[in-house]
Every structure is written in C-alpha cells, then in structure tokens.
C-alpha cells in the first residue's frame, strides 16, 4: 500500500517541532506554516505525525 504525507496548514501553529526532528530535513516553515522543503526526500517515517502537537501533519495510505 502506497503512503503519502499530508499537511494541514490551517491547523499548523508553526512550532517547528516537525521541522527540527524530521530525520531527512524534509520540512521547513514559511510564513509560520509547515511546508515540504524542495529538493529533499520524505521517507514517510511518520516521526512528524507522532510529535505534532496540532495534528497538522500526518502520513496516510494513498487513495488510488
């Protein structure tokens, strides 16, 4: 089953926790909101989902 990373910037409070602990450096903040950092790889490990206090980032199965 394929997975994908989903961001919900409406809920993101820009705390930077996901950015700091992503093992691939695949995230960044822009104007106080999380976004994928260009030129990096997300390995869909889900570390960001575990530690996001606002449930604004998560990994889910891809709908075909």
């Amino acid at each position: 089953m394929k997975k994908e990373l989903i961001l919900n910037s409406a809920w993101c409070k820009g705390c930077g926790i996901c950015v700091a602990f992503c093992p691939k450096g695949a995230l960044e903040l822009a104007r106080g909101k999380v976004q994928r950092k260009e030129g990096t790889d997300c390995i869909l490990c889900g570390q960001c989902e575990l530690r996001c206090p606002d449930y604004a980032i998560f990994v889910q199965e891809k709908e075909e």
């Binding site: 989903i6 919900n8 409406a10 809920w11 409070k13 820009g14 705390c15 930077g16 926790i17 950015v19 700091a20 602990f21 889900g46 989902e49 575990l50 530690r51 996001c52 206090p53 606002d54 449930y55 604004a56 998560f58 990994v59 889910q60 199965e61």
Partner: protein, 288 residues
C-alpha cells in the same frame, strides 16, 4: 504505524489522520493550546493507546479537572467530564464505583493532581481503584499564568517565585507509588512510542495506574526559566531523558541528573471495585 480500525466511524470529512478523526472532535480543533505545547502530543498518545487496546469508545470515560492540560477532556469523542480543580480523581472514583465495567481515564495537570488534588491522588492509589491517571506535568500552573507548582524544581522561577523556588519538588509517580499505586510510570513528550506503550500498559493494568508525563510548556515554564522554544524543550527531552532499556546499560555516574522513562512500580493487589463487589455479596448473604 499500524492501521487504525475505522469500522463504524463516520466518513472522514476533515483533513486529519484516521486516529485523530476517530478519537477526537475535529470540530473543536485546532485546540486552544499554545504553539508547541506538549499537551497535544500526550493527548494523541492516549488515543493511540486506546486504539492499540481496541477499547470501544462507548465504554470509555475521560475525566479531567481544571488547567490547560485538563482542557484535553473536551477534545475526546467519548463520554467526557470536565470537573472542578483538583477533583478529577474523586469524580473518576465515583464513576468507576458505579460502573466498574467502564474504562476510566483521568487527564490532569501537576497542580490539579498533586497540589489541590493531592489528597484524592494518594487515597485512590491506596485503594487501588481501577482507574488510569495521566499527569501532564509541565512543572507549573499554566492556565493561571505561571505560578510554581508542587513539581517545580528547586531554584526554578515562577510568577510566585521571582527569586527562585525554595520548595523541593514532588515526583508525582513516585508519590503515588509510595501511596500504593499498583502501576506507576514516567513518560515524556519526545519519546512517543515508549510513552504510548506506558500509557497502554497502564490502562490495561487492573488497579490504580499513574503515568506521569514530562510535558512541554514553552509559554510559562519555558519563558520564566529561559528554556528556549518548544523545539529546545523537546530537544532537552531527546538528549537528557533516557529509556529504561538505555538506563540499564548506563553507570550510576552516567545516570546522574537524568530522567528515566519507564515503569517504576508494578504490583499485583486486589482491585477496589472487585473487593467491594465481594462486600456486597457478603452483605447479601450470598443470596444475590
């Protein structure tokens, strides 16, 4: 991450994970907590523990007192009750006595559980009533503006300790263990899988369980004590807190000043509502 069982859950209509959609009330999210507040992380751990245990939400009661942390009860989609300051464990005791078949989980703060509610805590532990208490310990009174609490480390600052706190702090899990808690553990916000497992085992345990979780309050504790941002406070947990497995391989010198995650006490002792059921049988002369 294991797949969340979405049977009987209404169709997802919000951009949120299955776990959060199933156990929380997305219409009340995002929550009121500050950016980087650890409460949201702990609340998710609790949801994951309940999912892992396959507990039916209809049999789950979440009880809280008053404080930032106690606002958590309002976000869970099950039977919830947001009670008065310090009395969450007293309400939970009543619920468990009336309906022993229910899973009763208390979400409480360090002030709620160990200051105004300290008496309820030690006696619930002593009785070994089958509830699970999760203490979201940010070592401060967050909601009322940063007053020091019974868990504020000696020397740390609060709005009521502008020259540094002269009290010695409680270790809440240890306090409950001394009072007879049959399951007591320490968790934190950074080590999510470990803390979730401790919460899961605490809920599964028959008898009184307490999991004291080291929280992150960047707004009051962090600012008053120059602990930096939420990221800095999480990094401190990553670098200075060790799991029980890691601690086993460390010397006493290496362990100096470290916070060790894991179970500190696990005992086998009759659970209170079961003991009480026997009293009822006896009083009715076995002719129940």
């Amino acid at each position: 991450m294991a797949k969340v069982d979405m049977t009987d859950v209404r169709e997802k209509d919000v951009n949120v994970s299955d776990l959060v959609f199933k156990y929380m009330r997305p219409e009340h999210l995002p929550h009121i907590w500050c950016p980087g507040c650890g409460n949201g992380i702990i609340m998710r751990d609790v949801a994951q523990a309940i999912e892992d245990l396959k507990i039916n939400r209809n049999n789950l009661v979440v009880v809280s007192g008053i404080g930032c942390s106690s606002r958590a009860a309002g976000y869970f989609d099950c039977s919830t009750i947001h009670t008065t300051h310090g009395r969450a464990i007293a309400f939970a005791t009543g619920i468990k006595m009336a309906r022993p078949e229910l899973e009763v989980v208390v979400l409480t703060g360090d002030g709620d559980a160990s200051a105004i509610g300290g008496n309820h805590l030690i006696h619930a532990a002593r009785r070994n009533i089958g509830i699970t208490v999760i203490v979201m310990n940010n070592t401060i009174y967050g909601m009322t503006g940063g007053q020091y609490s019974p868990t504020t480390p000696t020397g740390d600052y609060g709005t009521t300790a502008p020259y540094g706190n002269i009290d010695r702090p409680f270790d809440v899990a240890l306090l409950a263990a001394a009072a007879g808690a049959t399951y007591a553990a320490h968790g934190d916000c950074f080590h999510v899988p470990e803390t979730t497992r401790l919460i899961r085992d605490g809920i599964a345990h028959k008898g009184f369980s307490i999991i004291e979780v080291a929280d992150v309050c960047p707004t009051y504790y962090g600012r008053k004590n120059k602990k930096g941002s939420a990221v800095d406070m999480m990094r401190n947990q990553k670098e200075n807190f060790v799991t029980a497995a890691q601690a086993k391989r460390m010397s006493p010198e290496e362990l100096e000043g470290r916070y060790v995650l894991g179970v500190i006490q696990e005992l086998d002792f009759p659970e209170y509502t079961e003991a009480y059921e026997k009293v009822i049988e006896k009083a009715q002369g076995g002719a129940k």
